[in-house]
């Protein structure tokens, strides 16, 4: 299994008796594209932070790629994330004072696998395959459109060839056209690199693109 959660319980940091997530058992198989939906505040982002190891799992077990995140030190989780998990959010995916190429290089610098096999040359084809024109590569991020920024964000998330891509409402700041191109580009890249996708959103209209659709309320006992 790519992701396995068992007996997980996440409480609010300020109020330890208030649960945000209570998941008995949930798993995602390799090469699935999973769409998790739920209303705002239902704990979707919390779920992704747990799976990516940003949030420490105090109760229960979280394993990704067969490795137990809850048994790892904070430092090892950081390294694991850099090596195996790509992350895209709704906004603020890029360091705004660096350009597209630099942002991608930055992501590469934290990974141990990096792209040593392919080197910096792999960044260009990646950006090209994401429909980012070469004249945008050296512009400051703030001069890129939202759609361009999100596509650069995917390139940044993919540069280390992660097995798992995690996306937190990456389309909600895009208009209809941009949303569709974004999703089709994303899906073809996931397909091409044989990756697993965990995608959360409250926008049910996107569900049709995925192999597996999951309501958060179906697995989370709190909601």
């Amino acid at each position: 299994m790519m992701i396995e959660l068992s007996g997980v319980s996440v409480t609010q940091p300020s109020a330890p008796d208030l649960s945000i997530l209570e998941i008995e058992n949930w798993s995602v198989a390799y090469r699935q594209t999973v769409f998790v939906h739920g209303p705002s505040g239902s704990g979707k982002s919390t779920l992704l932070n747990l799976v990516s190891g940003l949030l420490e799992c105090r109760k229960g077990g979280v394993s990704v790629l067969g490795e137990r995140l809850d048994h790892m030190s904070r430092r090892r989780r950081d390294r694991f994330r850099a090596n195996h998990i790509g992350y895209v959010f709704q906004r603020f995916n890029l360091v705004h004072y660096l350009n597209a190429i630099e942002n991608i290089e930055l992501a590469r610098s934290f990974s141990e696998r990096g792209d040593r096999r392919t080197g910096a040359d792999s960044i260009r084809p990646l950006l090209e395959s994401l429909n980012v024109a070469s004249r945008e590569w050296h512009k400051p991020i703030s001069q890129l459109s939202m759609g361009q920024q999100q596509r650069v964000a995917i390139a940044r998330a993919l540069v280390n060839r992660p097995e798992l891509l995690v996306a937190d409402e990456p389309t909600s700041s895009l208009d209809q056209d941009n949303r569709d191109t974004f999703l089709s580009v994303l899906m073809s890249i996931i397909e091409e690199h044989k990756m697993t996708l965990l995608f959360v959103s409250h926008d049910m209209g996107l569900a049709q693109h995925f192999t597996q659709v999951q309501a958060l309320s179906g697995i989370n006992r709190v909601a």
Partner: protein
């Protein structure tokens, strides 16, 4: 990549970064500048006299003796007899002796009566001898050798005739109109009180006093034959300097002179007396240091404040770097690196400004204050100061850095 992020992030916040950079530069400028001037002032102070083993005068305080014999400040309380001088100067351990007779002035500059030996043996700084820009040491009774500043401000040149007065204040009251002196030598600048001194022969002093005492008739009544016969031998002098054959005997001779039975004498070691005097100036020195320290503290606190203010606006960046796999300490170090870069840039800017100022102002400072500043800013002490500044900046930056660190560590759900 690490360095690149830090630099780009700083460039992205140019406004506040430049401000704190300037503050650091000013602090560096003040700190190094004051340290430099202090050092050089101390050096040039300590080098007002060198190569002189003992200074002997009438019994008084040792600072007083130093002040009037070397710095020409204050008035001697008493004179010493020519006989005592001769007796000590002829001692077997004495290599040379220079008599000094003070008490007269010319246009506000002190007149020093001495012997030609003065130009041969007196040295300053790092054993530098007095040098002549023009002319040579005096030979005749009415020959005058001028210090650099005297010649410059009064506009005298070789061959000019001048009148010398008895007493320090230049009034018409006791002008020795009848004793015209001729300038025969001009000394090169030394940065010591020598520059402000009018040098004449001991006999010249006697001649002008004799002239005034005998009323009209005056100095013209001395003819050359009398002068050469040494009939103008002084009865007393103010002080004298001794060079010894061996330094080993300095203390013994000092004791012997202090115990001299015929009249009360005091012998001092110039080096010891100079450092005693400097210690009195030391309070002023500490105040300057304290002020420059406070300027530094202000600048460093400003740096800390600028970084702290940036933490809030960098929330997304911190979160993003964590997501990319940056460990928490990476963010701590990033913040410290930014402080370090600002500080290094400030050091470069501040030192460069100081260097330029010293190069450009060096000559005029020397001319005005007799303070010689070389432009060598990079002394070991200066280096210690710069390291201290770096440490201070890193300490101040530790507060925002810790803030970023704990924010990165206690990751909260977005």
């Amino acid at each position: 990549m690490f360095l690149k992020i830090a630099i780009k992030s700083l460039l992205n916040r140019k406004g506040s970064v430049v401000m704190s950079l300037l503050a650091i530069s000013v602090a560096i400028f003040v700190l190094l500048g004051i340290e430099h001037i202090r050092q050089q002032a101390r050096d040039s102070f300590a080098s007002t006299v060198s190569g002189v083993d003992l200074i002997v005068g009438a019994k008084t305080g040792s600072l007083n003796l130093l002040l009037y014999s070397v710095f020409r400040v204050g008035t001697p309380t008493d004179n010493i007899s020519w006989k005592a001088y001769q007796e000590i100067a002829e001692g077997k351990d004495v290599a040379w002796a220079i008599p000094l007779s003070l008490g007269d002035s010319h246009s506000g500059y002190r007149v020093l009566g001495t012997t030609p030996d003065y130009f041969e043996h007196f040295s300053f700084g790092n054993k530098r001898r007095l040098a002549f820009v023009e002319g040579e040491a005096f030979e005749g009774v009415f020959d005058v050798v001028l210090g650099a500043e005297v010649a410059r401000t009064l506009g005298y040149s070789l061959g000019d005739e001048i009148t010398l007065a008895h007493g320090v204040v230049s009034t018409n009251f006791s002008l020795h109109e009848n004793s015209p002196f001729t300038v025969v030598g001009l000394l090169s600048p030394t940065g010591t009180p020598v520059d402000q001194t009018v040098h004449v022969q001991l006999q010249g002093i006697e001649a002008m006093h004799a002239g005034s005492e005998s009323g009209f008739g005056g100095a013209t009544s001395y003819d050359q034959r009398q002068l050469e016969a040494g009939q103008l031998e002084p009865k007393s002098i103010t002080a004298f300097m001794l060079g010894l054959k061996s330094r080993m005997v300095t203390f013994r001779l000092q004791r012997e002179i202090n115990d001299y039975s015929a009249e009360p004498l005091l012998a001092i070691l110039p080096g010891v007396a100079l450092s005693e005097l400097w210690q009195m100036v030391g309070v002023f020195e500490s105040v300057l240091r304290l002020i420059s320290m406070l300027v530094l503290v202000a600048a460093v606190l400003g740096l800390g404040a600028v970084l702290l203010a940036s933490v809030r606006e960098r929330n997304h960046e911190i979160h993003l770097l964590r997501v990319l796999g940056a460990p928490s300490y990476y963010l701590f170090l990033l913040m410290e690196l930014e402080a370090l870069l600002i500080c290094l840039a400030g050091i470069v800017l501040g030192t460069a400004c100081l260097y330029l100022c010293l190069v450009m102002l060096g000559d005029s400072l020397f001319a005005t204050f007799g303070l010689h500043l070389d432009a060598g800013v990079f002394t070991p002490d200066g280096l210690v100061i710069l390291l201290f500044v770096l440490a201070a900046a890193l300490t101040a930056a530790a507060i925002p850095s810790m803030r970023v660190y704990s924010q990165a560590k206690s990751y909260n759900v977005q």
